[in-house]
């Protein structure tokens, strides 16, 4: 899932303090699972903003709404009738949802209510870790399903480097060396000979190096 973290309330207040009405817009997908921008977080932020404005002696209309997704036009259309009641939107969706909301409603200011971090998995409740960088050319088949792009600090394809010590990366004792994980995994799978093969230079044009990307599926297009 896309992992996001809550923005400090002071930062959000700074964005919206001059408004007379604002819609706090949540998303039912990834940000709900990582407890940063779902219905509950929308309620908490809206309640805090209402109390803040009341204390400032300001009558500000703070609305709450959570859509199934903010990255699909059909769900964003659900607020078409009500969005004109608000001067701006604080979106608690990931960066995709925030931008897509702004694209669909060009006359509305849309402010981010979360910091979008990475594509990751929940290691335990309250702990998420990066697992994929969406490089567009998956090589997990050759690395025992451990990604050196997302998990090696240097994105090495023929690792490890000299900074690997006791299975940890030199950048931090809390970071596993991806190549140690790859070797351990290949050993467990009985495929250690795969480690001996040199990995050719990766074509990074499918990564961000090629500029903003698109996936076009002609079989699905209408």
């Amino acid at each position: 899932m896309i992992v996001a973290d809550r923005k400090p309330i002071e930062e959000i207040i700074e964005q919206v303090k001059g408004l007379r009405s604002v819609l706090v817009l949540g998303c039912n997908e990834c940000v709900t699972v990582c407890e940063a921008g779902g219905k509950k977080e929308v309620g908490v932020l809206a309640s805090a903003l209402r109390m803040y404005f009341l204390q400032q002696g300001r009558e500000v209309n703070v609305g709450e709404r959570t859509l199934e997704r903010q990255c699909d036009t059909e769900y964003l259309e659900e607020i078409r009738d009500s969005i004109d009641h608000y001067e701006a939107v604080v979106s608690l969706a990931c960066g995709v949802g925030i931008q897509f909301t702004a694209e669909r409603y060009p006359s509305k200011a849309v402010y981010p209510g979360v910091n979008t971090c990475f594509m990751g998995a929940a290691l335990e409740r309250g702990v998420w870790a990066e697992r994929c960088q969406g490089c567009g050319n998956c090589i997990l088949a050759t690395t025992g399903a451990v990604c050196p792009v997302a998990r090696c600090a240097k994105r090495l394809f023929n690792g490890p480097c000299g900074g690997s010590t006791d299975g940890k990366c030199e950048i931090s004792k809390d970071v596993d060396c991806a190549w140690q994980l790859i070797v351990d995994r290949l050993k467990a799978l009985g495929r250690l000979e795969d480690y001996e093969k040199l990995c050719p230079i990766k074509d990074w044009s499918t990564d961000r190096a090629g500029g903003p990307r698109k996936v076009i599926r002609e079989d699905l297009r209408s």
Binding site: I13, V44, S47, A48, L54, Q55
Partner: protein, 128 residues
């Protein structure tokens, strides 16, 4: 035991303090409560293992938020006791009552009242 505790305390029963969310606490303040304290089982005694620890973290989150928006985080508190410990229940109620008295009324109530006054038509309230 028939112990007395401050009459300002209103009890809201929940199955476990793990049920209490930050949103519930904030809603209380939005509706004018002067203080909220969450009374759970003693740490390590939760029937559901970790309900009171979760409540503790949520109380901390609410404190943080209330501090940031100017209501005052001291108005929220987590208390732990054994369900049979009535004297401690009374002590917590008295302590919380004292905290609220020191902090004064919830500023939201005054803000709402002045907003209502400002929006009322002039001359309203003069008639018996």
């Amino acid at each position: 035991m028939r112990l007395n505790y401050p009459s300002s305390v209103r009890i809201i029963r929940v199955p476990c303090t793990g049920k209490v969310d930050v949103l519930h606490i904030l809603r209380c303040f939005e509706r004018g409560a002067d203080g909220v304290y969450v009374v759970g089982c003693r740490e390590g005694d939760c029937h559901y293992q970790s309900g009171n620890f979760r409540a503790k973290k949520r109380v901390e989150q609410a404190q943080h938020l209330l501090d940031r928006i100017g209501i005052g985080g001291q108005r929220v508190r987590m208390c732990n006791l054994s369900s049979s410990d009535a004297p401690l229940f009374v002590r917590f109620a008295e302590e919380m009552h004292a905290v609220v008295m020191a902090a004064g009324p919830n500023p939201i109530r005054a803000a709402r009242a002045s907003q209502k006054k400002a929006s009322a038509p002039s001359g309203a309230g003069l008639h018996p």
